[in-house]
Symmetry: C2
């Protein structure tokens, strides 16, 4: 680990131009790590761009640099020699259009914290002990002789906060908190970050939570809680493009519930199913049965069928696993 | 500060018996600090008891030592010579029955983080820079030559988490995060703490949130959001004894909202009003107008009158302050 940290820093100093990429459906750690490293490379006078398949979710628009993240179709000429993959366990995680765009011989730098990382880089910095890729980037910066500005600090702090559930998930180590402490000393604008991440929901998002809670059910043994949003609910609230961030967590918040589920009919006959585990159950395995995937405690799948049929199929499967 | 830290540690080592008290309607920092210090004194072979006017809220029952917190009526003989006030800005914060119980000459040790602390102790350790009283206690322990056990770490970590909104409020300093890091190294059981604090709500609490959200209103300028729970709602859900923890925060979570309010009719003609501010508005001042009080960003008051009358009176007053 330590070796690669200094090897990677030497490479970053040595080379001159970079495409920074992250995974499709980007989360806070992906966005925060990309922007953090991009701003550092900018201070090092390196030519670099950031590239994502999917749009930056609005809650991250407050981060300085978020509007400099490009899509493949934004770029006409592609003469960058080095690619930095961030927060991607394999090369395909960037999504199809970005993967096509990158599809030729380039020098690959791979920085990630997923234990499943396939070590696909010419050089790899993969630390599964790190709570977030942003934690690794923060450790890299002193070796690049760059001072952390408040904009860099905001981006990296956001990455860590989002991947640790505000330092509540078990991936939060004493090292994570030390790094967060260092970022605060480097100028994180805490109120700005908090308001943008947690206190800037649209009125419609709150109405969507209300609608979801109206459907809340708990199994007779108290171990499964689920909510549903039908396509009619979504049309009624006019929230087709809204990702129901955080709503599913209300299922897991109930005492005794081991698995929380949100069934969301995104179009007639298509149901997206989100899974959350509180502790012992591995929901990634459950999601996998239905062609999905994810992490042990947060996973998802996309099923075809009527909402009621999907519900009974999935609930039976979860019951089996719990029993 | 530093001086008092070592002075207090010397006193704690020198003296032999203690009553540890906290404020009425105790919160996580109050409970966590009391238990943390109690377990430390236990390891120092000091005779000590913990005393509170109000019951320990159920979410803190998981903390080892929480069932050793007594009420004044539990104690027949009172021959303790020293009182340690924790998290109390003045002596009356302990509540009437505890204040009566303590009402004679004793040596007073006052440990707190409120800037308004009246320094009423024979010796005072008041640090408004600390996010929580539990942060101060953590700093005190090394001077007492006691090793932090996992039970002590869980209690103090809980105090800090609850007073900083999971390290999101602006009172979270780089020092706070370093102290939290040290507690994790000392054995905090993170999953246990997270599940008990945030994922152990009763089904009824979630139904209460749902009922509250059904009444959500936002002012035409988008700066005030409010919800209400009538006495009929509370009776219907059979939640008279349930404190609607965290529900009010959903008002503040909406973009643009500066002040969030929850009106809760606790009995016919009595309305408890909770205020939350997102940033610039000092809601303690607003609550004060109605005979209440609190902090700049979280305050409350108890008003007499019909729910609708109280609502219009309070909303007008908040509007005036915002304009």
């Amino acid at each position: 680990m330590e070796n690669n940290l200094s090897l990677i820093s030497e490479k970053l100093i040595e080379k001159n131009n970079y495409i920074i990429v992250g995974h499709s459906i980007p989360d806070g750690d992906c966005i925060g790590s990309m922007i953090g490293l991009y701003l550092v490379l900018l201070k090092m006078n390196k030519k670099s761009i950031m590239l994502l398949e999917d749009p930056v979710p609005p809650i991250y628009h407050f981060l300085f640099g978020s509007n400099m993240i490009l899509k493949p179709q934004d770029i006409s000429k592609n003469d960058f020699e080095n690619i930095i993959y961030l927060d991607c366990s394999d090369k395909n995680r960037v999504g199809e259009s970005v993967a096509d765009f990158l599809n030729d011989k380039r020098y690959i730098i791979n920085i990630d914290h997923h234990a499943t990382n396939e070590l696909f880089g010419n050089i790899n910095l993969v630390n599964p002990e790190a709570s977030a890729t942003a934690e690794i980037i923060t450790n890299l910066i002193p070796l690049l002789n760059v001072d952390i500005t408040k904009d860099i600090a905001n981006a990296l702090f956001t990455g860590i906060v989002m991947d640790t559930g505000s330092f509540q998930y078990s991936n939060t180590t004493s090292e994570t908190l030390k790094i967060a402490s260092y970022l605060i000393d480097s100028g994180v604008e805490q109120e700005k970050v908090r308001i943008n991440l947690f206190e800037s929901k649209s009125h419609k998002e709150v109405l969507l939570l209300r609608k979801s809670l109206q459907s809340l059910k708990v199994s007779s043994d108290g171990k499964i809680a689920w909510m549903q949003l039908s396509i009619d609910d979504i049309k009624e609230l006019d929230v087709k493009d809204l990702h129901p961030e955080g709503i599913i967590n209300h299922t897991r918040s109930i005492k005794g519930v081991e698995v929380g589920i949100l069934f969301r009919e995104t179009s007639p006959g298509i149901v997206k199913v989100g899974f959350r585990s509180k502790s012992a159950i591995d929901v990634a395995q459950i999601a996998k049965k239905f062609g999905g995937g994810g992490h042990e405690k947060a996973a998802g799948a996309r099923l075809e069928g009527r909402l009621d049929d999907v519900k009974s199929k999935v609930l039976n499967s979860v019951k089996e696993v719990i029993d």
